[in-house]
Symmetry: C2
Subunit: 288 residues, 2 copies
DNA sequence: GCAAAAGTGTTGAGAGTACACCCATGA
DNA sequence: TCATGGGTGTACTCTCAACACTTTTGC
C-alpha cells in the first residue's frame, strides 16, 4: 500500500501497527443488570427480575483479512499508527471499528516485531493492546461482514502469530482476575457478587468457592453497595454493588489502564492527553 | 536524517527506536566473588577472603546526545530498529554499545509513543527494554567520552521523557525483586545469601530482615549450594550458592526474559531466534 | 573471651481454604 | 415446607514478619 520505492533505501523504517485483543463475556453468560439501573433514587430498595445463564466464556471479535498475506483469514483488529494520536487512542479506534462497545479496560500488552516476517520486504512492528469490554448483547455476537465474535475455546486458525498474542492476553487476564479491578470490567457498572463470581469462574475455567470469593471481594474495599436489590432467579434478591477504585491502586496494570474518567477523553479523537503514564513519548537516540 | 521528503506523504510511517534502561549495582556495593570461582573442584570447601562495602545503589549508564533535539543532554542508550534483527537483539546491541557487560536479564518494558513530541515533524515510537547487568568493576564507572554511569538517586536532567521511563523501570524492578530470579542477576553467578540480601536492600532502599530473607530465598528452591565457602570479612565463612531456575518459572516476566542460554544466541548478531515468545511477530492489519 | 557475621528456632498475626450453617423468598 | 440462592461462621492451614537465639570464626 505504497510506502515508496522499497529498494530505494537501504534501511527502510519499519511499519508500525496497533492491534487489540478485545475480550468480553459471551452471550451465554450472566446478563447485565444495566436495564433497570438508572440515576433516579425513587425506590431505595426496589428489586427486579432478570434472567441469567451462568458459566459463560470469553469471546473476542476478529476481523477477516481482505489483503495478502493471509487473505481471507481471521486476525486481530488493528490499525495503523497515526501521527496525531497517542498509542492508546490508536488502539481505542481499532477497537471502535469492530465493536460498538467502549472498553472498560485498555492496557498495552506487548510489542511484537522481528525479522521472521519480512514477507513483504518491510519489517513490521505491532504494538498490541488488550481490552476488556462490557458484556455485549447477544445480537452483537451475530456475524457481521468481516467481523465475527469467537469464543476463546473455539478460535479459528489465525493470521500471522496472532494466536500467540491472544494466548499472551488470556494469560495476563487470568493472572489478574483475582482482583475486583478486572472482574468488574467484564460486567456492567452494577452487579451482584454472584455475577462477579461467575465471571471469575468463566475466566479461570475453574470452580471458585463462592463464600470465600465474596469475602475477598468485599475485603478489597473497592465494592460499594448501591442500595438496590436485584433478583436473578426466583429466590432471595441479591445486593447490587458498584466498583469504586481506591486512590492508591496503581500496580502497573492500572497505571496504564484506561480508567472511566480517561475513557471519555480518549473518545475525543484529537484530544491531547497530558497524562504522563498514558502518553509518554520519547525520541530515538543513537550514540553514533 | 533523511527519511525522504516528509511533505511528500500525508501519513508518514513513524520512526521506531529501541531504548534500554540498564541497571547495575554501583561500585560501593558488595564485591563480586567471581575471582576465585572456577570450574576446578580441587578443594571441596576452600575459603577465600574478599572485601565488601554493603549498601550500594543502583547505577545506570546514560549517553550524551550529540544531535538536536536535546543536544548535549543525557539520555537512555538506544538505537534504531534494524530490519534484520529481533527487538531483543536491537536492545541487546544498544546495551553493548554502552557497556562491555552482558545482560543477565533483558525484558521488554513498554512502548512509548504519541503526538506530544512531533518536534521533528516525524512521529516517534520507542520500544523500551530494561536490563540487569552484573556488577561492573569500579573502573567501568569512570567517565567515558559520551557514556557515563549515574546513580539512581542522582540522575541528571534527561532528554525527552526518559526520566519517566527510568522511573517505570525502577518500579518494575522493585516489584519483582522479591524473588531470587532478579536478585541473582545483579550479582555474580555465585554469591552468598548476605550478598543477595544486600542487593535486595539496595534495590528497595529499605531494611530487609536477614533471617526471613534467607529462608525465603532457600524456600524458593532455586538456589543451589556450590559446596564452596567464602569469607567476606574476618568472620565465619558463608556458603556460596548459585542460581538454578526451575523449569516452570515463567510468570510473564521470565517468559520474555533473556535466560543464560538464550543470551549466547543473542550475541550472534544475525541469529534467527526461533523462540516464539522472544520473537513473535505479526503484520499490520486494517479492516478498511 | 569478645565481636561480628552465619545460620536456626519460635511465636503470633493475617490471609486463604474448605465446608457447615442460617436466612429470605416464591412456589 | 421445600428448594434455591443469598449470605455468615468457623476451624484449619500456610505464609510471613519479628526477633531471640546458637554457632563459627579471627583476634
Amino acid at each position: 500500500m505504497g510506502y515508496g520505492n522499497v529498494s530505494e533505501r537501504r534501511r527502510q523504517p519499519p511499519q508500525v501497527g496497533v492491534s487489540v485483543v478485545i475480550l468480553a463475556l459471551g452471550p451465554s453468560s450472566v446478563a447485565p443488570i444495566e436495564p433497570h439501573v438508572n440515576d433516579n433514587e425513587e425506590t431505595g430498595a426496589d428489586t427486579e427480575n432478570i434472567t441469567a445463564e451462568p458459566h459463560g466464556r470469553l469471546w473476542m471479535p476478529l476481523v477477516r483479512r481482505i489483503r495478502e498475506p493471509y487473505l481471507g483469514m481471521w486476525a486481530l483488529p488493528g490499525g495503523e499508527l497515526r501521527a496525531d494520536r497517542s498509542l492508546e487512542q490508536c488502539a481505542y479506534e481499532a477497537l471502535e471499528s469492530t465493536t460498538d462497545l467502549h472498553p472498560r479496560y485498555l492496557e498495552q500488552l506487548h510489542t511484537f516485531g522481528g525479522p521472521s516476517r519480512s514477507r513483504g520486504g518491510l519489517p513490521m512492528v505491532s504494538i498490541v493492546y488488550w481490552a476488556l469490554v462490557g458484556q455485549a448483547e447477544t445480537r452483537d455476537f451475530a456475524e457481521a461482514d468481516n467481523v465475527k465474535w469467537f469464543p476463546e475455546n473455539a478460535l479459528p486458525s489465525l493470521a500471522f502469530d496472532h494466536r500467540t498474542i491472544i494466548d499472551h492476553a488470556l494469560r495476563r487476564l487470568r493472572e489478574r482476575i483475582e482482583y475486583p479491578d478486572l472482574t468488574t470490567r467484564l460486567v456492567g457498572p452494577e452487579f451482584t457478587l454472584r455475577q462477579l463470581h461467575d465471571v471469575a469462574e468463566a475466566v479461570t475455567g475453574a470452580p471458585v468457592d463462592l463464600a470465600n470469593f465474596r469475602r475477598r471481594m468485599l475485603a478489597s474495599g473497592q465494592l460499594e453497595e448501591t442500595g438496590q436489590k436485584v433478583r436473578i432467579g426466583r429466590q432471595r434478591p441479591a445486593t447490587v454493588y458498584r466498583y469504586v477504585p481506591d486512590a492508591d491502586s496503581h500496580s502497573d496494570a492500572t497505571a496504564d489502564a484506561v480508567t472511566d474518567s480517561t475513557a471519555a477523553l480518549l473518545r475525543s479523537a484529537v484530544a491531547h492527553d497530558s497524562d504522563d503514564s498514558l502518553d509518554a513519548v520519547l525520541g530515538p537516540l543513537t550514540t553514533d
